[in-house]
């Protein structure tokens, strides 16, 4: 698994390192830290120091004998393109720091595609909903446009439930595996909520829910399943977000959730929910 972590010097970035470390400790994932600066001909000192501090914080969560990452042999940043720098180390797993110049969301999306990350993680300030450096647009754009799954951490720590909202779109194996990892990591219960259109489609979504139930039964994971109408979903998601992480399957062109959770709805969800939000693809 390859995890891209978006970081800046905000408190919300500092707070998520513990959660990132927990995921990294369990999955032995390759970790990529990304910091984006607005405009500079070289990596800004404050960003470099911030990323190196996060790296040390992450390493500090591992017992030394279990640390799969290596220290950097030297700290010379390699320029990989205009406004792009990289510092990398290879232990049993790879750890790398990237600094890029430009728009935060655009650079994160581009890097996620380049390195083929399986998951993007970012924090956000909860002061006015879900902000990144004073902007709502960053978490929203990353959640909406990423080529892989995205975990927006609003609430750090263990989740009691993973509440997965499913519609009739294609459920990828990768997304199921990511849900499985989070259920294992948090030792959490799993709720799968199927969303049906007002008329028809019930059979299709019901069939998919039965298949999922069978999948989890075979894996020995107890899953609680509920089917609801699309107009009930938004309230349900807002209410159930108090219980844990809300996961939304947003893949597939025909995804009802994609329509239901339009730009403004993902925006509202990020703003109104207290929990972390996982967008599955």
């Amino acid at each position: 698994m390859k995890i891209l972590v978006m970081l800046d010097t905000g408190n919300y970035s500092r707070r998520i390192i513990k959660d990132v470390a927990r995921l990294a400790k369990n999955t032995f994932a390759d970790i990529i830290f990304l910091g984006v600066q607005e405009n500079n001909k070289k990596p800004a000192k404050s960003l470099v120091n911030g990323l190196l501090k996060y790296q040390q914080d992450l390493y500090g969560f591992f017992p030394p004998e279990d640390l799969p990452y290596a220290e950097f042999t030297d700290r010379s940043w390699r320029e990989t393109g205009p406004g792009k720098w990289l510092l990398t180390s290879r232990g049993m797993k790879e750890f790398s720091l990237h600094i890029r110049t430009g728009s935060v969301a655009r650079e994160a999306l581009a890097l996620a595609a380049e390195v083929e990350s399986d998951l993007i993680i970012l924090g956000c300030s909860r002061k006015f909903g879900c902000e990144w450096d004073g902007e709502m647009n960053v978490p929203l754009r990353v959640a909406r446009d990423a080529p892989c799954s995205v975990l927006v951490i609003k609430k750090v720590g263990k989740a009691k439930q993973i509440i997965s909202i499913l519609d009739q779109s294609v459920v990828s194996q990768d997304s199921l595996e990511l849900v499985n990892q989070l259920v294992t990591l948090h030792d959490a219960g799993l709720k799968i909520v199927g969303v049906k259109e007002k008329k028809g489609k019930k059979d299709k979504i019901e069939k998919q829910m039965v298949e999922l139930l069978k999948y989890y039964n075979e894996l020995g994971i107890g899953a609680w399943i509920k089917l609801m109408n699309r107009e009930e979903v938004q309230d349900y998601v807002t209410a159930s977000s108090r219980e844990g992480i809300v996961a939304l399957w947003m893949g597939g062109r025909e995804s009802l959730l994609k329509k239901l959770f339009s730009r403004s709805m993902v925006d509202k969800l990020l703003e109104n929910t207290t929990s972390s939000l996982l967008i599955l693809r």
Binding site: N26, T27, F28, D30, E116, Q173, E177, Q181, L219
Partner: protein, 130 residues
Amino acid sequence: MANKQTSIMILDDEPIVGKRLKPSLEKKGYEVESFTSSKEALERIEERAFDIVVTDLKMEGMDGMQFLTLVKEKYPDTEVIVITGFATMATARESFNKGVFDFLAKPFKLGEIVEVIARAEAKKKKDGKA
């Protein structure tokens, strides 16, 4: 003399894993056998050695940990790569204690496991065991 083809066994009860991996690895020149049943994989292990074994941990019947233990006991030179959808620190630690080459949590991209397999192959060649 032609280089000996590196042999790989893939064991995962999710058929999609073998389906995705086998053709890509064969394209790269590996000899690949894919199994979805640990019982059948074990029978095959009794018949022949593989250079590299890629196994899931959580499966019906014999779990991957038991399977890799048996493989390492019978063929200590075989490099084992663990893939799991339910990764924990404890299972990772136990796997490494049993001598696995690498531990990959699902989901992963094809390129990631291909790269790990290439490193395992290089290690075997370096150690003169391939």
